[in-house]
């Protein structure tokens, strides 16, 4: 009976996450077919288990000891407990430190590539000079970059966040002087009190593989604590970051206002 309840529980958990729209707090909705697959399969298995229970069939089980049966049920209840009882939280600046806030080491890389280095550990930035001399990737990025370079004011929204960040890091020199407007949370630079980062967590597949993506900002007049959500406007320039020993595209701020945390703090990789 417990097995039936757990299977139904998994079915309902997935449906609950989907219906309440909480699913996008865990995975990229591009992969929501995974949730449908789980719903479908757990529902089917629950029906089968219901029949086993009703007909009181003797089932040949692998779990022969009492202990194995108990741990099986107890462990499988954990995800259900987490789904329903834990309040939904999102990743924030406290996770940045643990989850891989670091910059690519620049020791063995020449200046040209250093300028292309991304700001975050999980930033999709193949080292084109070495591996892809004339690949489709470059053409693709070039197209995206040109599209934004034509605009006077580049608005970075939740939808184009990942794409714009990628081209800014790929062609930092061409974006210098461009006016950019973006939203993100504040992560104060641990090594320089006059600088801060504006980050958002970007999800590729699920939040386990998410990373922070964003820009270094300079020239702010106000100080915000970590995790403050802000809307920023400024111009792109190249700043040499001392402790990271590399040049990064950065945002010279002209406006910075505090805003409410967006209803969905994440941005997603679009395929």
């Amino acid at each position: 009976m417990l097995r039936f309840l757990i299977l139904v529980g998994y079915f309902e958990m997935t449906m609950y996450l989907y219906v309440t729209g909480k699913l996008d707090q865990y995975i990229n909705l591009h992969y929501s077919y995974l949730a449908f697959l789980s719903m479908f399969l757990t529902f089917g298995l629950a029906i089968v288990q219901l029949m086993v229970w009703m007909k009181d069939m003797k089932v040949h089980s692998h779990l022969q000891t009492k202990a194995a049966q108990l741990t099986s049920l107890a462990l499988l209840l954990i995800p259900l407990g987490v789904a329903w009882l834990f309040p939904t939280v999102s990743l924030d600046a406290t996770t940045v430190a643990a989850k891989g806030y670091h910059f690519p080491l620049a020791a063995e890389v020449d200046d040209q590539t250093q300028q292309q280095e991304g700001t975050s550990v999980q930033y999709l930035k193949p080292d084109t000079s070495t591996y892809f001399t004339k690949s489709a990737y470059q053409e693709e990025m070039r197209k995206v970059a040109d599209q934004y370079l034509d605009q006077d004011l580049i608005q970075i929204t939740a939808d184009n966040y990942m794409a714009v960040m990628e081209v800014i890091y790929d062609y930092p020199d061409e974006f210098v002087g461009k006016t950019v407007e973006m939203t993100g949370f504040v992560y104060n630079d641990p090594d320089n009190p006059n600088q801060q980062f504006l980050f958002r967590f970007g999800i590729i597949h699920c939040i386990a593989d998410s990373g922070v993506y964003g820009l270094l900002t300079t020239g702010q007049t106000q100080h915000f604590v970590n995790d403050t959500w802000v809307k920023a406007r400024g111009t792109i320039k190249i700043t040499y970051h001392n402790s990271l020993e590399q040049s990064l595209p950065s945002l010279e701020l002209t406006d910075l206002i505090q805003i409410q945390k967006p209803s969905n703090p994440y941005v997603y990789r679009v395929f």
Partner: protein
């Protein structure tokens, strides 16, 4: 009740969120794995397996290595399937190469790799080649060197229950019943593995690993450890690998991509349920050595 949990430290709640996200990702694959395993249990008999497999040992190793190409699976679902194959008297030297390559050389993962590295065939190709090389070494080792059975003899003993008297829908029903049992068996290890992986993600800063100075040898080893700890889905790990390319370079990232789907926390726990410790130890050492050699070699170019 929710208020009570609201009191928990944020990091615990975030660990919960990451845990749940890995579960959501892995759940359908484990379910599919369990169902396939249930059907194998009911429909495939040792006789059938032997009629189907090539007779020659070398051909059998090759069969195990390449069959993953047409067998869509993910590293979460592969262990119960392999276990069931072994119970059906599929030889070790066919099953083990299958265990190693299936999560890598299937079309979905190769395509993800191709996309992640900016539509470059090079990475997908080297990834597939590396995994095939590992599989061949494993196949030769268990075909010609090690002879001991790799399934645990106690607890999960070889079942000889016979379903050949069942027909039609009843037989399908029995397959699904076995699938449910498999799910409750595997699920334990999945949950535990996901808990551990999410713990690592929240509490072990990755820069501790990535800031260790590296030459090519330590970098390759480091990336292997990272792949093990992160326990990413083999569909998604290429994207993470791509992001690490700038800091580590080609060979270490290749090590990350090849070892990740073969050994990580969650499938190690699942393996521990079925296989002997000796096998797991040999499996891990051989894989590590082969990947190390392969990556040092391709790094030399």
């Amino acid at each position: 009740m929710t208020d009570l949990f609201q009191q928990l430290p944020t990091s615990v709640l975030q660990m919960g969120a990451i845990f749940l996200s890995i579960m959501i990702e892995a759940l359908p694959f484990v379910l599919i794995g369990s169902i396939i395993s249930g059907f194998i249990d009911v429909y495939i008999t040792p006789d059938r397996v032997h009629a189907f497999l090539p007779q020659n040992k070398i051909l059998r190793i090759l069969f195990g290595t390449f069959v993953g190409f047409i067998f869509p699976s993910c590293e979460c679902g592969i262990v119960p399937i392999v276990n069931r194959f072994l119970e059906k008297k599929v030889p070790t030297y066919t099953a083990v190469p299958f265990l190693a390559t299936a999560p890598i050389i299937n079309p979905i993962v190769l395509f993800a790799t191709y996309t992640a590295f900016g539509n470059s065939v090079r990475f997908a190709l080297f990834r597939a080649l590396g995994s095939i090389l590992v599989a061949l070494v494993l196949g030769i080792f268990w075909g010609f060197v090690a002879k001991a059975p790799i399934l645990k003899q106690d607890g999960a003993k070889v079942h000889s229950h016979d379903f050949s008297d069942k027909r039609g829908w009843t037989k399908v029903g029995y397959a699904l019943i076995q699938a449910i049992d498999e799910f409750f068996d595997m699920g334990r290890y999945l949950v535990f593995g996901c808990l551990f992986a999410s713990f690592v993600q929240v509490y072990v800063p990755t820069y501790v690993l990535t800031r260790i100075g590296h030459n090519s040898l330590t970098a390759i080893l480091l990336m292997m450890v990272l792949a093990f700890l992160l326990s990413l889905c083999s569909e998604a790990d290429a994207f993470i690998g791509a992001s690490l390319l700038a800091s580590f370079g080609f060979a270490p990232v290749m090590a990350f991509l090849i070892i990740g789907p073969m050994i990580d926390i969650k499938n190690l726990l699942m393996m521990k349920n079925h296989f002997t410790n000796k096998f797991i130890l040999q499996f891990i050492s051989l894989i590590t050595l082969v990947i190390l050699a392969y990556c040092l070699m391709i790094g030399g170019f």
